[in-house]
Structures are given as C-alpha cells and as structure tokens.
Subunit: 376 residues, 4 copies
C-alpha cells in the first residue's frame, strides 16, 4: 500500500536571509524538489506588519526554493507552502522547519499511527466574506480536502491545522463597497476590532467547523470575536492582504504512514500553564520521569508549534496582570509564550506565534501546543 | 530566650497608590507601627528610571507609613525600608509585601530553623566609591551588621540579602571631580557601562565578600562587570541617585526564631531553567509530587523573590537568541523571569526584578530565586 | 457694564505632582478660589491610557485645588475644569496653564475684542449615544450654553472649544446591551475603530454643528470617522470612561471683556505646514517681520494650544511616509506636532495633544492651532 | 581644463529593496557605471543596529550596483561608497540619493564655485585606535586626500564630509586585548559611553582636525565625548563593526566644476532652531522672500543632508524637556530633526540621520545642515 513518509528538519537561521542550513540539507538529499511541501518558521525582526526581517526572509526563502525546484519564483507558491511568523522576542531562536513528504510502498498499515501531512487551497475568498461565514465555509471545505490529501478521515487524528487566508486592504475594501457590499471592519490592524483578527478568527472557526469542534449551527457572522466559547484546539491561522484564497496544511497521525515521526497536541488552560505544554509533549509520546519530560528522551522531540494569544481578561488565576494595558503587549505576549514552551522543552528552537488579544484559536485564556516526536 | 517572629503579608495593588490592602492588615493588627520593618514590592509602570508609577507608589506608601507610624514622612526611612521595583510586564501582579518582625520570648531554640530578618545602614558612600572597592567594603560591613541584627552568624543560613546603594548623578560626579577624584562611569544609565550597573554590581560583590562567597583577595575595582565568575547567590541589589548610604536587609533562618515561616533559595543555571525555580521552592520546604511542587502544598508558599538578569551571551543551550539586540530587552527580560517563576508557582504575585544585562547577582546566565514558605 | 477679565498663567512642572508654581501664583493672589476656571496642561509620562504620570498629576492637582477652594476633592469638578493631556515626547515641556476669570465693571465695550471664556456641562450622555448623533446633539447644546456663559453670540468669535465627553467601558457597554441597545464599537482603544476615537470625533462634530461649521443635515451616525470632509476648525476633544456627561470650555473674543489677552486660531494644511502655525500667531495679533514672528514681539505670546493628529494618508505633499506603520506612531505623531509648534514659537511650553490617526478635529491631514497673545 | 560635473538624483524607495527608480535613471543614462560614486540614503525600519530594513536595502543596492558595474558584489565597495542610514520615523521619506561625477573639459574656471565631490579611504584602523587619536589622525589624513580628489584646497569650500569608520566588536576587542592593548569602551552600543559613539565622535574630530576647525594641539584621547566645545560643522559620521578602514566623501564648491549644482551649509543653534535650517538653504543659494524660502524657488533645492543629534542637556531655551529620559529618544530625536527640516523645505525626502545623544558633529545642542541647490 502507498504511504507517506514525512520528515521535519529544523534549521536555525543566522540572519533572516540565511538559507545555508537548508542548502546543506538539500546537498545531503534530505530536502528534494519533489518532497518539499512546506517551510514553517520564525523570523527575527519586529513582528509587526512591516517587519522587514520577515519580508526579507520571505524573499530569500522563495528565491532559494525557486532555485531548488527549478521554477520561477512566482510559481513557488504552487509547490511549497510558506508560513513565516515574524518576531523572535525573548527566547525564540530564529529558525525554519522544512517539512518534506515522499510516497513509499509499505506492506501493511503501521502498527501505531504516524505523522502524515496534507495540503489544499480554498476557493477564492472575496473581501465581503473575510471574517465571516463565507470565509469559515471555504476554509472548512479546504480543511476537508487537506485531510483527504493527508489520508485522514477521523478528526481525532488531526493535531495541527495551519491556515493562511486573505485579510482586508484599502483596495479590497474599496472593491467590496463599490459593489454595494459591506466589510467586517475598516480597521486593518490585528487589534481587537481589526480585520486581521477577524480573518484569523473566522479561519479558526472554519477549521473548528470542519473538524466538528463547533457545530455549524452555532456559527454565524455574529459569533466571530464575540462568543469565545467557540474555538478550535488545533487551528493556527494567519492572514495577509496580498492573498486571494486560503491555504491549509493539516498535520495528523495515520496508519498509512511510514514516517519516523508522530504528532500530538494539547491546550494550556491559561497563560502560565506549563502543564499544558507538558501534556502536548506527552500526547506526542515523549517519556516522562517524575512528572517532567525525561531529559534523556527529549532528544526525540523534533519540534513544537505553539500559539501565544494574550488572554482577553486582566486576571490570571484570580490575580490582576497589566498585560492588556501594555503598549508592548504584542511582543511581550509572544515572548512569554516562548518562555513557557522553552522552560518545558529545554530548548529555544520552538515555533511560537501570537501576541494578539483573544482568539478562537484555543480556549479562552489558553493556547494550542502541538509537538512532533521521533519514534524511539 | 528572645526570638524573632517574622511575617510577610503579600497585598495586590489595584493602582500604584493603592494602600487599601495594607490598611486592612493594619486595621486587623497584623501590621503594627512597632513591627513593620520593610515594604518590598512590584509597582506597575514603565520600569524605567522616570517610571511615575513607581514614584507615585513610593510617595503614597511613605505617606501611608508615616500615618501608621505617626512620624513625619521624612522620618519614615529611619523606621521602614522600602524596596520598590518598577515594572510589571507580562504576568507579574503589582503587589506590596509587608515584612513585620516582633520580639517574643521562647522557652528553647526552635527545632528547625525559621525565618529571621535583620537590617543595617552602611557608612556614607562617596561618589568616587560607587561601583568600586569602597562600596564593596561598606556594603560588606553593613551586611555583617544586618546579619548580627538578624541573629545570624553562619553565612549558610543567609538566603536573601536585599541592598540599596547610592548611584551616581550629574551633581555627585561634579562633586567628586571637583575634589580631584574620578568616577567609575559618566554613563548614568543601567546599560552595560552605566554607573547604575556598576553600583548594583559592586553592592552584590560586597555581599559576596561578607558571606565569603568571593574571597576579598579576588576583589578589586577592575573585576566589577568584568569577571563574571565572581558573584553572590543571595544578593539582590538596586541603586538610586538620591541615596547617600547603603541599606541592607538580610533574610535567613535561625533557631532563635518563633516565625511560622522558613526561607530557602537556589539559582537557575540559565535563562530558561525552571528546575532552578523548583529547587528554590524545594529548598524552602515545599513538598514535591512527581517532580513538581505538590499543588495541594503550594498554599504554604508565601512569596518568591527572583531576579531576571538578561544573559550577557546570545546563546541559550547552544542556540542563538536575539534578546541582547532587542530595543525592549529591559522589559522583555523582566517579563520572561516573571513567566518562568509563575509557571512554577502557579501564581502571578511574585517579586521579579531585573532586565539589566549581566550581573554579579547570580552566576553567569543564571538568576537568584528565594522562596518563603509557611510551616505546615 | 459687566465684563470678564480672563488671564492665563503657564507654569512649568518639575514632576507630574509639582504644584509649586501654581502655589506661588496663588500666594501672589493671581489665582484665587473665585477666579480659577480651568487647569489645562501637558503631563509627562507615556501618554497611554494607563499613564501614571497623568493620573498622579490629576490626583495632585485636584488635591491642590480642593485646598485652594476649601472644598472636598470630589466637589472640585463642579468648580474647575481639568484638561490634562498625557505625554510630553520630544520638545513639549510639562506644564499647567491656569485659566482665571473675574467679573469687572467697565464703562464701555472694549474697542477691540478681547479674550472671554465660558463653560457648560451637557446633559448625561448614555453609552448608546457615545460616538453618535446623541452625543453630537448634547455637545452642540452645551457648546451653545458655554458660548452664552462666555457672552459670545457670533460663532466667528469662537477660536477654541475644549470638550471632554464620556467614552465607553466594559461596564457601560454591558449596561447598554442589557437594555437592548447597541454601541458604536467594542474596541475600547483610541485606534481607528476604537470607541475613544468615535467619542472624540462625535464631540468634535457636535462643536461643528453648534458653530455652523457643518450643517446638521449633513450629520448622522454614519459620517463619524467616515466622511473626513466634515470637521471643526476649533474643537479639541477628549474622552474618558469615568465621565457621565460632557464638559465644554469655549474661548473667544468679545468687546464685553476687560482681558489683557486676545485669542486667534488657524489650521495647518498638512502635517509639515509651519505656515499654519504662523497664521495662528498672526491671527492672535503677533507682529511679523520678514515673514516670521518678530522675536521682539514673541514675548507677548502667552500660550499656544495645538492638535497633532496623524494624517490618515501615507502621503505628505506627494511623498510616502511610514508613520502610519510605526509601532510608536502615537508618541512620534505627538512629538512632531510639538516640534512644528516650537520651531515657530521659539519655546517648548506649548500645549500639543494628539497622536491619534485621523479626526474631525481639523481638516483632513491638517491640525488646529490656537494662540493667545497679551495686548501690547 | 579638466572639471567635474556632479549630479545628485533623489529616488524615493517603495520598499527597502526597491531599486526601480535607480534602474530608470540608469536606463536613461543618468547613472552610468563610470559615473556613480556614492549612494546615500534613508531606509525604512527600526533604525537600530539590527535593522533588517537597512540590511536588506544594503544587500539589494550592492547587488543592483554590481549588476550595473558588471563587477562581483564584493568589489562594489571599491567603486561606490554606500551611506545608508536606517530609520525613517515621522516625516522622513525613504529614499536613495545617487551621486554621480564625470570629468569634462571646460574652457575656463566657472565664475561662481560649483559642486565637486572627492573620496578617499583611510589606512586600516586597529581596534585600540577606535574612538581615539589614532582614528582622528587617519580620518584627518583621508579627509585631506578626499579634498585633493575633489580638487579642493581651502577648508572654507568644504560643506559636507561624510565618514564611515570601523567600530568595535566582541572579536576586535578580544584581538586588541590579546595584544596587550586597551579599547575605549566595552559597551558596543551608541549609548553615551558606547564604542559606536566614540568611533563616530573621533571621526568627527578627525574631520575637524583636517579642516582646522579644531587645532590638533587641543585634541587628545581624553577630549572625546568630554569637551563638547570641540566640534566640526560639516562632519556627518557613522561606524560599523564590519569595517577595517575609514571611508571619506567630501562635498564642496570649486571653480574647477561644470556641475549644475552648488552646496552650502549651516548649523542650528539648538534643537528647535528652524532658522538654522533656513540658513543652510540660503547658504546654498535658495532665494528668500519675506524671510522664508521663496516657494517658487524651492524647486531648485535638490537635497538636504542633516543631523539630528539629541542635546545632552534637558533644557531647550531655558525650559525642561524630557527627551533624555525617553525610552524612545533615539527614534523620536531622529523624527524631530526630520520635522524641523521638512517644515522648512516643504518636502519629506530629506536625509536626516541621528538620534544619538551629544556629539562632536555640530555645536553643543545644535546640528549640521547641508543643502544642495541647482543653478537657476
């Protein structure tokens, strides 16, 4: 039977444009033009929307990938999905994780489920759909297609869904309004009423709809960024004004896999919940000793993907914090997630994105953590 | 025999000037004019030297204390030591810990050592001594006196020494130079060559000298902020331009104590070392279960005092971080320490100061953590 | 006939709580309990909503005023209007301008119009009115009353209208929604879709309505923060969650005045338009020499009140600027207005507030500048 | 006789890596491989030392220049000098000014002096010379050589000297100390005692020495960043750890020139002195009308180069400002210089660098402004 063999290679970057470690992997045959499916990484810089570290990294990585694949730069997006999250405040090491997938023949299904990955693009999402049901439905459909591409049928086997969707821009708002349509917000930021937040959150609810985490009957335009009890435990979403359709990458476990890797996930119950991070590692199969990840076994931990959304409340376990009032909350919030994860994994090359306030990515106050572990 | 009975009351503050919780403690007789020895707290605000949150808190707390004691505001400093650390980024709840001490008669020494506290002022420290041997020697002498006041003789029983010393100012530099003296730096900041950093670090080495952590023969003007292998594991120091002499508060354990509290401490080995924080709790007597503090026992944890000095290296466990290059490193560094402690203690009312780069307070890359626990 | 004699005393502040210069004025009889009508100032600090410098200044000034007036602190607001704008980035000197008014008998109307001031409170403004027509109408009515109090009938004689209105809070939104009402925004910030911005802008349009700058027929809920061609040239507005009704202070010129002062105003045409600032000075009567304010005459300039709203466009005179993308735009925008004014007035004790993006206070891209000059 | 024909083309940049306007100039033959001598510009980004906007711009511009010249990227520095100043806060439009020079035959010296440009590299500057007399002397020698290359003999004809020198790095300090040498500072920042500031200031004093603005006998290691009465009125300097020798570009006026351009300069007397900026324009030949630059004549203004060093004092014209205490002083200080210049030139494409505190580039509290004007 045909099965996937998925690998993830985590490469620290010395500068935003550093592709030397990726090239070494390519030279060694570990990354090949026909196997590279995604580059997911953290880039150093401000983390804001005009973060030139991230933009430069994007340009340099697309250019490197075009050379690897032997295609024009503009065609790279057809072959490889890029998820670059800007900003490495604190103890987040800038790095790129290259995800590869090859198809192999296996005699029988694996005894234990192993990592598979699937991808899909959504139909075009028009500006009036951004942050609303239209976006949710198209993301849900694409999530189903990506699951199919991954060979996954049971939502319980899905542990991480990375989504990129269109945001709004001055131009796309003008377009919608010229056609007599309204848009979800005129605020183009990722603030509490910003179009970027609405786009990310509708995408998350689209994943939740696809996986049955939230029944479609509970969903409407009005619940987005209002009813925080509706959320996904596996969706990590982002949005950009330049995009016209959604992109979805699903990570899960399947017996139709020859991968040496397994994925697991958990959610933190609040912003300081290290146990939630430990649960993610345990879920993926890291061995524990005396309640803590066994240091001798942590070498098998390949990578952690975590969100660090700031809680919408100013209370953590009954005490007031001032983070919501902090002018630097966006960067500090991301940095704190980096510390929570690093203090558990004992390493700093973790993928931690976030900083926004409140989200349907994870439960109220909590965050999503996924972990990939190499079979022992 | 005469023994101390020391208590620590941790009061969250709703605003910088909020003294309502302290007043409730005073009304209940828990804080009395003759027992209050120190107010140690975190105040919300920028954390910079012109942090008006901290200044306002200082004014409000001195005014409240003057009313409690029935003395003029200017005399408050003779009776109560104030250690207010500005800036509560992230998950640090603004709070004031009131330290009280009363003298009681006990029949026999306690079977296990319990918390005692001692205080002393140093001789006046002139500007040319700031950040140099002169300051170290005077702080060392005051540390010995504070130990005596606490009834402590063995340095091993000392678990936390809080020190405030004079920094440099434009005026005090002019004074020194007009007398033909030099000063350690013309940079008045807490930057890597700033007078504030030199003052704090000489104070820390003074404590190290007093406790025998560093032999006096190893100390000289030249080692300050140069030889990072010389450090104290219990000194938390700060400096201010307005001061003329040093103030020292020593916390330790003694059998000549009727306190219901015990103190312990440990150091972290690096910036993400949660185990170091756990060790501090264990040292103070918190019970552990499966490698983690037993949640049922964490109610006995009264307070944690921790530093969060940023490492001088851009490497954490072999991977690069960008914190040293971050324009917001001062606040992010403090916030990260707050998360490291909160993720272990499960609460946000921890005293965490820091943000400066490199220090003789704790080992290179690591930080000091002290914990106070109520006897079970 | 009865006439006003209005004076403005500009007092630099050494710290947020510094009232020493005000006390000196009180000791000299220049500020009296029966003459003090307003304290308008710039306070040092972050300028954000949790700016403890501004909060501390507010507490200290109200306390000082209560002592001056011999009334409880809670009653001060009935007698004196406080307009404290936080944040003195760049070349804005922290200061308080005390506005006094006494009533005197004069034989005949003044030959040239002179400064008068009038005040009024609006009816209570409920949360569902914030940022909408309800607020505009109530502010318009109060503006008419304040003009009456000032003895002004012709809108052309009005040169500055300072307004404070209620904003929204978590509690007031809950109140409105529990009564089946909607609110203008759930974003409590001063961002582009924030309730604070809507409140300020509805207040400005209320002034514009009262003065006939914008016909009432052009106004509706929908134009607020949408139709930037509707604006006031004299309204400087602010909002706060703690308020329940609006407060209006009108400054204008009248022949029924014995004041030694005259006020004038102008608007800048864009963000770098120093000529607009010069026009304000010229309008108030500063003599010019060679196209510039005559330095020998600038001693007669008493005070300048200016807004520094950031343009909504990323173009200034046809070239791109990056201010809209700047994480520090709020503070930099305010600082730039301070420089524009100081470079014309040759002094740094100017009242400059702003930093928000786009507003109905002044024309698109431009800002309001009012100047008060002493008669020669 | 042989004469220079110098041109300056100011190209706004849409992104840090935008070379499209430069390419248009190249396509039109205005920039040629044999005429391009320098690219001087402002790049958008944080302005800090890890400003990826500036780094990306540098990479993209060197790559573009290499293609234009037909040389390897590593050889570009031998042909073209790059002065890229990061950070465009406020009203500074990101742009690149291309300086070209060709040699032409003229019949007779020009009647009025016109723009010439000259370049030179210094001898290698070792780490122990950074910020000290060794650096001053080598920069002075290179300045003389650049003057010679420009055909200038009289220092009065020199209106702008741009200098880049080596700074210190962890590696170069280690190198110096391993050879028994000391370095000027271990602080690698541009703070008040930072090596970057010492390097820039020694370079400025080197120019001052070369031009006779400061007699060599007044100079010593000890005066750098101590005796602010020693300064250059034409030196704009920067430093970088990667450099091993200094680079100097001199701009002046000469009769041996066929340029259609003239340069002039002036200094501001303090931080808000718009008259100083106007004086620079007047010095370069802009016509004035009623004390202000004649708007009809401003079309002849080609470019302005200005510094915006923050004053070392907290007083401007006798009033206190809080800029020295501002955590964002570096960016706000630069932004304020941008506003001062733009409010005079009526445009935002001005080269304004700075933000550091105190410097030997310009008088205490004041700044250098140079202007280039096209002959009418």
């Amino acid at each position: 039977m045909k099965a996937q063999r998925v690998e993830i290679f985590v490469s620290p970057s010395a500068t935003p444009a550093d592709t030397s470690n990726l090239q070494t992997l390519a030279d060694a045959g570990k990354i090949r033009p026909d196997t590279l499916v995604a580059l997911v990484g953290k880039t150093e810089g401000t983390g804001f929307h005009d973060d030139w570290g991230r933009v430069w990294a994007d340009v340099a990585l697309r250019s490197w990938t075009a050379r690897l694949l032997g295609v024009p730069v503009d065609d790279v997006a057809k072959h490889v999905i890029f998820v670059l999250s800007g900003g490495c405040p604190g103890v987040i090491t800038p790095h790129i994780a290259a995800v590869t997938r090859e198809w192999v023949e296996i005699d029988a299904p694996a005894r234990e489920k192993r990592l598979v990955v699937g991808r899909a693009g959504s139909d075009a999402i028009v500006p009036e759909e951004v942050g609303r049901m239209g976006m949710m439905r198209k993301v849900a459909t694409a999530t189903h297609e990506a699951m199919k591409d991954a060979g996954l049928t049971d939502p319980k086997d899905v542990h991480l869904v990375m989504v990129k969707v269109p945001g709004l821009t001055v131009a796309s708002i003008r377009d919608a309004e010229s056609r007599g349509q309204t848009v979800v917000s005129h605020d183009l930021t990722f603030g509490p009423e910003g179009a970027g937040s609405y786009a990310n959150d509708a995408a998350a609810l689209g994943v939740a709809m696809a996986l049955g985490e939230v029944p479609e009957s509970s969903l409407s335009d009005d619940v987005v960024r209002r009813d925080w009890d509706l959320y996904s435990e596996v969706a990590m979403t982002s949005s950009g004004g330049e995009k016209r359709h959604g992109e979805v990458v699903v990570f899960g476990n399947s017996t139709a896999s020859a991968s040496p890797l397994v994925i697991g996930h958990a959610v933190t119950k609040d912003f300081i919940d290290a146990q939630g991070v430990r649960n993610a590692l345990r879920s993926a199969g890291v061995r524990f000793k005396d309640g803590l990840p066994d240091e001798a076994d942590l070498g098998r931990l390949v990578h952690v993907f975590a969100k660090s959304v700031i809680p919408g409340s100013d209370q953590v376990r009954g005490q007031r914090i001032t983070l919501l009032d902090d002018a630097d909350a966006y960067q500090i919030g991301k940095a704190l997630g980096g510390m929570l994860v690093a203090s558990v994994t004992g390493r700093t090359t973790n993928y931690v994105s976030g900083g926004e306030r409140n989200s349907h990515q994870g439960p109220p106050g909590g965050n999503i953590v996924a972990a990939v572990v190499r079979l022992g």
